[in-house]
Amino acid sequence: MKLALTTRQRQRMLSAFAIVAMFVIWELICVAFNISGLVLPRPSAVFAVLFEKMPLLWPHAVQTLYTTVTGFALGVLAGILIGLVIGSSRFAYDVAYPLLVGFSSIPKVAVVPIFVVWFGAGTVPAVLTSMVICMFPVVVNVATGLAHTEPELQDVLKVLGARKLDVLWNVGLPRALPYLFASLKIAITLAFVGTVLSETVAANKGIGNVMMIASGNFDVPLVFAGLFILAAMGVALYVVSSMIEQRVTGWATRGNEVVIT
């Protein structure tokens, strides 16, 4: 029997195989060098803990997911609005860009204590941290997308008496969409970073908090279990956002349109 596989299917199979292979090699190294479970637990041990402590971990996972998605949504919303303002005029772009670069180069760990001072420990600083951290790629991409409208097309519309809002709505926004979606994939990953960062510093719930406590107790397998959960959620959200991207901006990947990621 001959197996007929498309390139895409083969690529997916190889990706799955690579993940399995990584776990197998990890397991083998642990066994071969007799590495202590306190340093690097075997993946099988991690999965066992994950399974065993699932009822305990579940609410924390939900908390982290909730915080991340909320922060992500707020960050994207704020990012789109700021990006629109900055990108819709050359002047605003030039004025605001240095400010933006300044803000985005602040290490985001540094903002967590400030949010804790303002709002106390808990969910709020975590949401805000993930919002702030995932906002900047969105702002930059939306502004860039808007700024990329061809001058000739703008002329065609201006000659018709189009108002600024007409141009923005009919050309600017659709033109910026692929840039926006490209930035969403980056933003969702960053939102996770923000949430976990804040949870490890100042929270009593969430996977970040669990990992912090577990590492204090030298429960290394549990720390890794938390890591696995984060990785799984991160991958899932990435896949969702890239699927939405495919549906909404399919036109951008056809023809000779090039999307900058």
Binding site: E152, D155, V156, L157, K158, V159, L160, W251, A252, R254
Partner: protein, 291 residues
């Protein structure tokens, strides 16, 4: 007609600021009048300010001094005439179908704008399809721009410039990137559409045969800063056939225009002020051009 539709009076355009010594003087006290419903072609050396004149008339650019009047009103005011514009580059929006691209002006220009939602599926779509059929693209309205060739896109771009029945049609080398056969076919189509709708047309072109075939009047511009050096009335009967553009009388006109532009170019090369130039011996000029 005494009252001209377009009136450029002593228009000067300087790019780069008034007190900047590096500024480019694109137009220097240029005058141009065009009657309503006329078809005028603008030819001249590259960089002489043809596109600049087009942008002035379209209200995309304000003159540094002088007045630009279109339809008895100062350009840039609130009551603008209906204008259609097409460039060498078709600039279709890739996320819309060809039909939706063509209907874009109806979405923006009054009075179509207020009925757009109600009529976009019916009357407006039918109008777009009729235009598509006229330029030889029937049945392609549902395609996306990337599924069409460059020549097809240029036809669509012509439809977009005409769908709102503009009083003024501005064309900047619209057929510059096309092959000879497509170009000639589109000349004929443009002539038909013009004879039907009778908009005032200002066509910028590098193709002198195109100018001779399409226009009622050809304006030859000097090298930068551009001025109208000479105007030629083209009296061939309408509708004109493509064969006419190969006939001796047309060839003669093209040859005369070519000579005039060659003169304007050589003025530019010698750095002379482009006022009325001394007529050089034509044969020498032709040799220089060919070399």
């Amino acid at each position: 007609m005494n009252e001209s539709f377009i009136d450029l009076a002593d228009v000067t355009v300087r790019f780069g600021g008034a007190d900047n010594p590096q500024a480019t003087l694109a137009l220097d006290r240029t005058n141009l009048r065009i009657a309503q419903g006329d078809f005028v072609a603008l030819v001249g050396p590259s960089g002489c300010g043809k596109s600049t004149i087009l942008k002035l008339v379209g209200g995309l650019l304000s003159p540094s001094s002088g007045g630009v009047i279109v339809n008895s009103r100062e350009v840039g005011g609130p009551a603008r005439p209906r204008i259609g514009l097409a460039f060498q580059n078709p600039t279709m929006l890739p996320w819309l179908t060809i039909r939706d691209n063509i209907m874009m002006p109806l979405k923006i220009v009054e009075p179509f704008r207020q009925h757009y939602r109600a009529k976009k599926k019916g009357e407006y779509a039918a109008r777009a399809d009729a235009l598509l059929a006229q330029v030889g693209l029937s049945g392609l309205g549902d395609k996306r721009p990337w599924q069409l060739s460059g020549g097809m896109l240029q036809r669509a771009s012509l439809c977009r410039a005409l769908i709102h029945e503009p009083q003024l049609l501005l064309l900047d080398e619209p057929f510059g990137a096309l092959d000879q056969f497509t170009r000639e076919e589109l000349w004929a189509i443009l002539q038909t559409l013009w004879l039907e709708q009778k908009p005032t047309v200002l066509l910028v072109t590098h193709d002198l045969r195109e100018a001779a075939y399409l226009a009622n009047r050809i304006c030859v511009m000097s090298a930068r800063p551009g001025r109208i050096l000479e105007e030629r009335h083209v009296d061939f009967a309408r509708p004109r056939s493509i064969e006419l553009s190969y006939a001796p009388e047309c060839a003669e006109l093209v040859q005369a225009l070519r000579m005039r532009i060659a003169e304007a170019r050589s003025d530019m090369a010698s750095g002379a002020v482009p006022t009325l130039p001394v007529k050089p011996v034509p044969s020498i000029d032709i040799v220089k051009e060919a070399a």
